[in-house]
């Protein structure tokens, strides 16, 4: 559904309209901020939650690092980590899907593009479902769908709030129609969580596009997005090609989505942890 899911090599910034300072000719310092061109040290960037201290540009965050940023130290207990994708279509494009999966697992150390488990945020228990864009562009196939669905089940059973952090190009093409079926599947699980009185807080990180935006990521009780995060069903390139319109500068960005009424708030990464804690306190079930 969205082209970004095709490969794990996609540079996150290519779909990001505000980040086009690279003129393509000058050879850049490897650690150059795409927001302001300043240089950074890796350890400093990590210490600042991967937000540029100069311009507030939000660099991508890997799944486990995101959990470290949000959860109380040592509180995260991963579950469902053994789940691995099948290859129902015996899919083969330029390379077999199984090969891509194996390579992604090796390069990321993850079983698939979502990490789930239980955690504490400011000492408040919750469930987490965090995506990792590095694993095949964060694309949603059977494993992401199943992990999210089980995260809903756990949250309902334990009467805990579920916090999802999405970062995905959309459905995973290599699983064909079954990837599309992860949309209703995740929505179905979320419906059951909601029917049980549960809550899902959806954090939209860059990018949340295609099938993610058309499924659970849009259906949280509260939606917060990171600054500059792309949130679009169709990617900017597809829209530009299809409609031959000039796109607005902030096309599909969180800022535009806030204005058009699709999210509740833009939360800079430094505030994400306390804001989630606040929301968990507000939605906590006392009975």
């Amino acid at each position: 559904m969205v082209e970004m899911s095709a490969t794990d090599k996609v540079d996150v910034s290519i779909e990001h309209k505000q980040v086009t300072l690279d003129d393509g000719t000058v050879k850049k310092h490897p650690n150059t901020c795409p927001g302001c061109g300043s240089h950074y040290r890796d350890d400093e960037l990590q210490a600042s939650l991967r937000v540029c201290p100069q311009c507030e540009y939000h660099f991508p965050v890997r799944g486990l690092e995101r959990i470290e940023q949000l959860a109380d130290p040592g509180s995260f207990a991963e579950d469902e980590s053994a789940l691995r994708s099948g290859d129902p279509l015996e899919f083969f494009d330029l390379r077999p899907y199984t090969e891509r999966l194996a390579e992604a697992e090796e390069s990321t150390g993850l079983g698939d593009a979502m990490i789930t488990g239980s955690a504490l945020i400011e000492a408040l228990p919750c469930r987490l479902a965090v995506m990792d864009f590095s694993f095949m562009g964060g694309s949603m196939g059977s494993v992401v769908g199943e992990k999210f669905a089980r995260a809903c089940d756990h949250a309902a059973a334990d009467r805990l709030p579920l916090v999802s952090v999405s970062s995905s190009g959309g459905a995973r093409m290599q699983e064909g129609i079954l990837a599309l079926m992860q949309l209703p599947k995740t929505i179905c699980a979320l419906e059951e969580l909601h029917a049980s009185g549960g809550v899902m807080i959806s954090v939209l990180a860059h990018p949340t596009t295609g099938g993610l935006l058309a499924s659970f990521a849009s259906l949280g009780d509260v939606l917060v997005a990171e600054p500059g995060a792309l949130m679009s069903f169709a990617g900017p390139r597809v829209v530009a090609q299809t409609t031959r319109e000039k796109l607005p500068d902030d096309f599909g960005l969180a800022e535009s989505n806030l204005r058009f009424g699709h999210i509740d708030r833009i939360v800079p990464r430094q505030e994400l942890r306390p804001v989630l804690a606040q929301l968990i306190r507000l939605f906590r079930r006392t009975a």
Partner: protein
């Protein structure tokens, strides 16, 4: 195809066809043809055969939703508008009588000529179209009308205004609404079942495909452009996707295949409508009398179980 899968397929086709398609005399012949098809499915379908289906699914003379509506429903009353901002002509909605009882119907609508195509936006809905769909689902639910949806879209429209008006959220909410309905629901992919724009109105108790319909997560051309970096490899992509009805049945994504006249639905629209009507009616009959909670429970269990993992 593994023999297990083949057995499953044979079983499903038997269930689908054996009882229900034998009503009219013309249908018996179709049933036999379907049986022959089943035989052929033992062998892998060739890329060429799958591509023929893609072309038939997009055939310029292929019947669209309103072609079926006028042949299948009596007293059809079209419902317009999302009660918010627009009447999106890429999705038609209404109520009408099917075998004497009122049902609600929703479907994508492409256009036959240029003017109609523009009006219908080639069957690519804006979020307003999905909001109209949700509104009509609510109406159906409140009055206990079974819901039939006909799916035929290249995809939801990828445009600036569509994004600004919340395309992703609208598609998500339409699916969520279909999960909640307490009435029987049957969806039929009658042409192109394109991605999110299709699934938005296809979260049904029974999902069927016409024989030459396709159902896929991205268009073959789109897939080829990305994975093969060459849009002309669409045939390969279509085949790799298994976007034809038989494969979708095999994958457990649909419950049945609606036969078409030989050569495709466009060769005999009346006959195609007759088969479609019979299939829908028989599935609705099966669902009749099931309590709302049980319908919801089974529907959710079905979609909850989709996916292949270990």
């Amino acid at each position: 195809m593994t023999s297990d899968a083949e057995l499953g397929l044979r079983d499903r086709l038997a269930r689908l066809s054996g009882v229900k398609l034998l009503r009219g005399t013309r249908l018996s012949a179709e049933f036999e043809r379907l049986q022959r098809q089943l035989e052929r499915l033992k062998d892998d379908t060739s890329d060429e055969e799958i591509w023929q289906r893609v072309e038939l699914a997009r055939h310029k003379d292929r019947p669209y939703t309103l072609d079926y509506v006028e042949r299948i429903l009596d007293d059809f009353f079209e419902l317009h508008g999302d009660r918010g901002r627009m009447d999106d002509h890429a999705i038609v909605a209404g109520i009408g009588k099917l075998e004497g009882r009122t049902i609600a119907l929703l479907g994508h609508q492409k256009g036959r000529d240029l003017k109609e195509r523009t009006k219908r936006n080639f069957g690519m809905a804006y979020p307003e179209g999905y909001r109209k769909a949700v509104r009509v689902m609510e109406l159906a639910d409140r009055h206990g009308f079974p819901l039939v949806t006909l799916v035929d879209t290249p995809g939801a429209f990828p445009g600036v205004a569509a994004e600004q008006h919340g395309q992703g959220g609208a598609i998500a909410r339409s699916q969520a609404m279909m999960m909640r309905l307490g009435v029987p629901t049957v969806s039929v992919v009658i042409g192109e079942g394109g991605s999110g724009g299709a699934i938005a109105i296809a979260v049904a108790d029974r999902v069927l495909m016409q024989e030459n319909a396709i159902y896929s997560v991205i268009s073959p051309e789109g897939c080829a452009a990305i994975l093969w970096r060459d849009a002309s490899q669409a045939k390969k992509a279509a085949s790799a996707f298994r976007l034809d009805a038989a494969h979708c049945l095999d994958l457990g994504v649909i419950e049945g295949i609606v036969p078409e006249p030989v050569g495709g639905a466009q060769t005999d629209v009346d006959a195609a409508a007759l088969f479609l009507r019979e299939s829908v009616v028989s599935h609705l009959h099966e669902l009749d009398g099931t309590a709302s909670d049980d319908l919801r429970r089974a529907r959710r269990a079905k979609f909850r179980s989709m996916g292949v993992f270990a």
